[in-house]
Amino acid sequence: MEIAVTNLTKTFGSLRANDRLSLRFASGKIHGVLGENGAGKSTLMKLVSGFLQPDAGQLEFDGQPVRLRGPGDALGAGVGMVHQDPLDVPGFTALENLLCAAPRRAFPSRAMARTTLTTMAQRLGFTLAPDTPVGAMTVGQRQQLEIVRLLACGARTLILDEPTTGITAAQAQALFEALRQLAADGNTVLFVSHKLDEVAALCDTVSVLRTGQLVGEQLPMPQPQQRLLELMFGERIVQTSGQALLLAGVTVNEPPGVPVVHPGQDERSSEASPTTPLVWQLEQVTAREGMVRLRNVDLRIPQGRVIGLAGLDGSGQQLLLRLLAGRLHPDSGRILVNGVDMTRARTRTYREAGIEYLPADRMRDGIVGALSLTDHFALLQPAGITVDRQVAVQAARDAIAAYEIKATPITPLIALSGGNQQRAMLALVPDACRGLACEQPTRGLDVASAQGIWQRLQARCATGCSVVFASADLDELMAYSDEILVFFAGEMSALLPRATLTGARLAELIGGVGFERSAP
């Protein structure tokens, strides 16, 4: 089916996420939608699939104007969207998920739903068993299930939002094959990504968004990479180097053999000198949490290093971070912090030893949203009967200045934007910090905010603090890590010096390719 939008506008507060967009997606083709983080791609897709409603503008499916009151309307009209985190019910089996709130005409009976599931999965080359609980599936399988569900419910246009994050290379290949087949059958596919190589490999046309506006409309593929980058980043591309692109979070196919210059680590060598004191030392550590377990981990992290943890979500990175921060105790083995055995020590002892933990979900377990920066600094004051508000206000002022946080000392932190919250959380890390374990430190931030965060983190490293961070973003891992640990299904690689890796090699490792060889 053909999808057309005219003058589509959507604002969030003062932010114009989509600014008078007019576009037409022809049927039977795969359309790429490119743009950096925050360019408005997701907003546009949510408007088309009924999750959001436009402030102004017109939406047409096959030439008919439509008004979508919700995703149900969109699906009824034949448009379905697969979200980055598939919207399924973890407690249900694959079959129940398929049946849940599906129109009766799609599946007249449970038995027919079962048949539909197996036949469609087979045709698209997916591996889905009807009775597996969704909670036990990989993200890739859940995505496949969503695709099957949407098609079975009558979708003739599929929207996929960054579908290749969090799935294996093999699953991505299967997905691409299936999408090509669907397009060949006459369906329309909208493929949202910020990865140029994927768009190049898959799409027939590409449209580019920048700060909510359309800057490239329905360009036929292939396009020169340089041109797409210019459209995505505008004037900034003038100062292009591999470095700037990496910082901006774009995957560029690196010419083989050309070493990429990385910022902020020219003088530090990848090889740790044996005399540098260790922040963390893990000896034969075995631990488990839920389904994930790590076995016999040996790890030495000296001062002043940045260690990136790569791998699919839930491969053990979070487990390691929680071990390092003392939030989880190992089943066996020893953990030493600054040379002291802290294997069974309490979280508090870890904090006193200068170990800090920055969780991914800021509002859930990072900061107290209803309290202000002043209150937070008051909480960090050394124990006493009363709090010294004067000192706390001063500390908050200093932090606001030093970290460029847009807030007053008494603004509740919940009123801040994501980047400001993240900087506030970082500002609250005491100066005496020796080791910082962060989950996804720049998730959900725009490019400038992410760069700001990394400047602060690197400043801390310069004073001898070590940073261990997990990230789903390969480019972030490649740009900032001294060494990288790759996780795959509960296995952990040795510390791989970044200089020995390329983005492509890292992607392979994350997907498990050749993992056995590099693992100790």
């Binding site: 949510k46 999750f51 959001l52 919700g70 995703p71 149900g72 309307d73 699906l75 009824g76 969207m81 979200h83 919207l87 399924d88 019910v89 973890p90 407690g91 249900f92 129940e96 049946l99 849940c100 709130a101 599906a102 009766r104 488990r288």
Partner: protein, 328 residues
């Protein structure tokens, strides 16, 4: 033997109001809304149902009125929590107290006034069966309905598409929304239907089990019903088992009162409540992360069965229970 059968029959009868109340709460909680007003709803349902039955001399009308009262209280809860965004706990608690006080105030004229009740209705032929007849078939229509309600709710939740939708609302409302389900409206519906069942539970006391009305006639039953839903892990059959267990405890307490004359009556009246909470604590304790870790370190022969037992005993609440859903 015959005495035992009579006792079992009495347990089934005594549990019938609890069955209505817990199934109502279950419906509401499975869709993600916790209705903490149960105690007030049951009380007001009992008072209102009895008064209407007394005035109109019609027991069915009494039940109808009780169901309407329960639905109305649930509606208020929904407006305040789902639409106006107030805490479900706070609103439910206030409604519970308000319901109790209202029942005392409005019910004052009918205190200890004799009134109509549900007529005894032994089922022909079946009632004459030895033992089985005594246990199951010498009751009234209300109790037979309570027998049917549990399988019906179970079938509805786990074997219909409606049930899939309801459970999705309680587990992940965003997924339901993505499938075109009007999340808030469906939650209203489930909570109101559940509230109506809870109201009927009130009338089941005043028109059947404890005929008549008196000051705080059903005191505490709402709270115990809520506890039983947790105890039953939000699964209809286990919740029903919890209701029968509680009723059996009440009857045992009455019995031992006769044999242990030195201990005052009131002690036996509170015993089932206390036992219920203790069982709840025990179940939670067994399923705590520490306990699970200890199980994991058991020798392999023991680990399997123990882990299975624990996973059977302890069930997590619906993931989105008590949380508000805001559409993007």
């Amino acid at each position: 033997m015959n005495q035992l059968a009579i006792d079992l029959g009495a347990v089934l009868a005594a549990a019938s109001p609890l069955i209505f109340a817990t199934m109502g709460a279950l419906l509401s909680e499975r869709s993600g809304v916790i209705n903490l007003s149960l105690d007030g709803t049951i009380m007001l349902g009992a008072m209102g149902g009895f008064t209407v039955a007394l005035v109109t001399s019609s027991v069915p009308l009494g039940f109808g009125a009780a169901a309407l009262i329960g639905a109305a209280i649930a509606l208020i809860l929904c407006i305040l929590s789902l639409t106006l965004g107030q805490s479900q706990t706070a609103v439910g608690f206030v409604l519970a107290l308000l319901g109790i006080e209202l029942s005392s105030f409005l019910g004052a004229p009918v205190v200890r006034v004799p009134g109509p009740s549900v007529p005894f209705l032994p089922i022909p032929l079946l009632a004459d069966l030895p033992i089985v007849g005594v246990i199951f078939f010498r009751h009234n229509l209300l109790i037979y309905l309570s027998f049917l309600l549990v399988p019906f709710i179970w079938w509805m939740l786990f074997h219909t598409r409606m049930g899939l939708t309801v459970r999705a609302l309680g587990e992940r409302p965003a997924a339901a929304f993505a499938r075109g389900v009007p999340v808030t409206r469906m939650r209203y519906l489930m909570c109101i239907l559940g509230g109506a069942l809870v109201g009927i539970a009130g009338a089941a006391y005043s028109l059947d089990l404890r005929q008549g009305w008196s000051y705080r006639h059903t005191f505490g039953m709402g709270w115990i019903a809520l506890a039983i839903v947790i105890f039953g892990g939000w699964r209809p059959w286990r919740v029903a088992f919890g209701c029968y267990l509680f009723a059996a405890l009440e009857i045992v307490a009455l019995r031992s009162q006769r044999t242990m004359a030195g201990v005052p009556t009131q002690v036996f009246q509170v015993a089932p409540f206390v036992l219920m909470i203790l069982v709840l604590a025990l179940v939670n304790l067994v399923s705590s992360p520490q306990a699970l870790r200890r199980i994991a370190s058991l020798p392999p022969i023991l680990r399997g069965p123990v882990a299975m037992l624990v996973s059977r005993l302890a069930v997590a609440a619906p993931a989105a229970l008590g949380q508000r859903f805001e559409r993007p």
